[in-house]
């Protein structure tokens, strides 16, 4: 089974599990609060089952596949087969996670320019001037938006709180 096919199946199963959980969770609420969520969960379960059935029966697949699909859509799925593409996806995911942790730990005003500096210094490596300028610009923008415009503390973050 190809990578893209596996991805489609896993996604369908995830939708099914989410819908079942949603239905079970909403059954705990009072009738007014659970009415529409229950209907939505039920509809989702039905649609997912149709989708899973369409993977098995080609006649059904022809019915649910749209004419709107194009070669561009197919080529995006084929990207998953490319090891270099997958490697870069994982790499950027970890960088985004790093940004997230830097913001939580250091706050926006320090976390954002730190992230941009590290990213450009380690991955771009073309121009130190551009690295410093962009990092400074984003730091200034963060300070202006967070500190001045919204009048929030610039030193919000776990590290500063721990430091006291």
């Amino acid at each position: 089974m190809s990578v893209s096919r596996s991805a489609e199946l896993i996604t369908s199963v995830c939708f099914l599990l989410l819908a079942v959980w949603y239905l079970v969770e909403s059954s705990r609420y009072m009738p007014g609060a659970r009415l529409i969520p229950s209907i939505l969960a039920g509809c989702t379960i039905v649609v997912v089952l149709v989708q899973l059935a369409s993977y098995r029966f080609s006649g059904l697949r022809a019915l649910v596949e749209s004419e709107k699909s194009s070669s561009a859509d197919t080529s995006r799925k084929e990207l998953l087969q490319d090891p270099a593409y997958r490697r870069r996806v994982i790499l950027i995911f970890f960088w985004i996670l790093l940004l997230y942790l830097l913001i939580l730990a250091l706050g926006f005003v320090v976390g954002i320019p730190s992230f941009v500096f590290l990213f450009l210094a380690l991955l771009d490596r073309k121009s130190w001037l551009l690295t410093v300028l962009l990092s400074s610009a984003l730091g200034a923008l963060s300070y202006f938006l967070i500190g001045i415009l919204l009048n929030l503390r610039w030193d919000s973050g776990w590290l500063w709180t721990w430091w006291g």
Partner: protein
């Protein structure tokens, strides 16, 4: 008693003061800047400008604030088109075709189409605003919760139109959006739903964080992994060449004037109805243009009509939403709720007395919206060839900047750190959707409409019982929704029965 013509002239005469014109221009520049920064949006812009109202005369304050408000939506469109980063939640519709155009090297052309459609849409909105004032009482009397529920369902029916790819994927995307919209505190029953006991989720997931994650962050992941600039393979000089430059976009708008007028009327008409929201107007306009098109399959792949239609609706809705605000003191949108505060600060009382005693100011506001929409678009047209260069910047520079700005934008909307968690997770989801050809557009539409559907359903049941479906206008709207859903299948069936259609089918086989 002054005649209408004299009142209009009085409204125009306020522009004879250079200070008023200067403040309007400053407002336009501020609005464009605020609009470009994701997360700041209409509410934050109005809230930030509100203190300035204290020191100014009503005319000066309205020139500044309305100028900024009219311009900021076009500012949001710039980043939506060039970087797939909607400046406000409403610009998400502009990304559907605006960003693919940028990927094809036509970013400047998309900006030109957006600027001109916004300007014309703003003018149409003003005409609707002025024409609707005598009728707004009728509108507000007959559009009640059952009609609002029907309109929200009509919006959901456009999920099939805006989503590309398979039917089941479009439906699942929309259903997921609807399910996510119910996270948070239910105002009808007082029940916190799907919050896992966390106070951060009481207000829901936040439209800005969701939009920035699904579109901006997801696209940045894809851009970095692909390793090529947005307009891969092209050079920035392309933006000056025929077929790719900003004036081609303006010509596209002029050629598709009917789309502009339709979009403007849809935007202004839906803007008149309090509580529906601007994004719904843009989705409707987009869906209508796609349905009417002879080549609907081009939508979502860089079709300029897919930029023109929502942009015309976007600016037109502001004129429409001012009507219930001014005429009855009923805010047409959340931004208009702040406007009511501004009116009170300026000593103006929104409602029938404003129409009676300050009609010249009402006309002045209409002219400010029209002129500043045009001014913002003119500035945009001049800057577009230079701004479009952003689409040629290499990913290693663009990606960290945009992801950082997206996270800031997500935080700005709610001032809650949980928003960046939402943006992160939405980004991963959006990327996965992109790869597997699910529809982030359908997800966002479901996310926006879910609370509306529930709220108006329960209000309708409480006030009218189960017979609320039998109200004539409600029935008409539901019928329109049904026709919208069935239309593609009806057309396909008809073409299959016709001799020409059978020939085409044989040829395809």
């Amino acid at each position: 008693m002054e005649s209408t013509f004299e009142t209009i002239l009085q409204g125009i005469s306020y522009f004879s003061e250079p200070r008023v014109v200067l403040l309007a221009l400053i407002g336009v520049l501020l609005g464009l800047t605020m609009g470009v920064i994701p997360g700041l949006g209409g509410l934050a812009t109005l809230a930030l400008l509100l203190p300035f109202a204290y020191g100014m005369s009503p005319v000066e304050a309205l020139a500044l604030i309305l100028g900024a408000y009219s311009a900021l939506y076009f500012g949001g469109s710039i980043t939506a088109i060039l970087l797939n980063t909607p400046g406000t939640g409403e610009q998400v519709v502009t990304t559907f075709d605006g960003y693919p155009m940028t990927q094809q090297g036509k970013g400047a052309r998309a900006l030109g189409a957006s600027a001109s459609a916004s300007a014309l849409g703003g003018v149409i909105g003003v005409f609707v605003m002025l024409a609707a004032i005598p009728f707004v009482r009728w509108i507000l009397y007959y559009i009640r919760p059952p009609e609002m529920f029907a309109l929200a369902l009509l919006g959901i029916s456009t999920i099939g139109i805006v989503s590309s790819g398979s039917v089941t994927k479009g439906l699942l995307s929309g259903l997921l959006g609807l399910m996510l919209s119910f996270v948070g505190y239910d105002s009808i029953t007082g029940t916190p739903r799907f919050t896992f006991g966390s106070l951060d989720l009481f207000d829901g997931l936040g439209i800005t964080a969701m939009t920035l994650g699904l579109f901006a962050v997801a696209e940045m992941i894809h851009l970095f992994a692909g390793g090529r600039p947005i307009a891969a393979g092209a050079r920035y000089t392309l933006s000056r060449q025929p077929g790719f430059n900003v004036w081609d976009g303006v010509r596209d708008t002029v050629r598709q004037f009917r789309t502009v007028v339709e979009g403007g009327l849809i935007g202004a008409g839906l803007g008149l109805i309090p509580g529906l929201g601007g994004t719904v107007a843009m989705f409707f306009s987009y869906a209508r243009a796609r349905q009417r098109s002879t080549q609907p399959h081009d939508f979502g792949r860089g079709c300029v009509t897919g930029v023109i239609a929502p942009e015309a609706a976007n600016n037109a809705k502001e004129g429409g939403s001012l009507v219930p605000t001014i005429a009855f003191g009923i805010p047409g949108s959340s931004g208009m709720a702040i406007f009511i505060g501004i009116f009170l600060i300026l000593g103006l009382e929104p409602g029938p007395s404003m129409i009676q005693n300050n009609l010249d100011l009402v006309y002045f506001m209409a002219f400010v919206i029209a002129l500043t929409s045009v001014a913002a678009s003119a500035i945009g047209l001049l800057l577009a060839p230079y701004v479009a260069r952003a689409s040629f910047v290499r990913p290693h520079v663009l990606v960290p900047v945009l992801i950082a700005v997206s996270f800031i934008g997500a935080f700005l909307d709610t001032r809650n750190l949980a928003a960046i968690t939402v943006a992160l997770l939405a980004g991963l989801l959006g990327f996965w959707f992109k790869i597997l050809n699910y529809s982030s557009a359908a997800l966002i539409l479901g996310f926006l409409l879910g609370p509306l559907v529930e709220r108006y359903l329960f209000l309708s049941l409480q006030v009218y019982g189960t017979e609320f479906f039998t109200r004539p206008i409600c029935l008409l709207i539901l019928l329109a929704g049904l026709l919208m859903v069935l239309r593609p299948y009806w057309k396909r069936w008809l073409s299959g029965r016709s001799p020409a259609g059978r020939k085409v089918e044989k040829g395809l086989k």
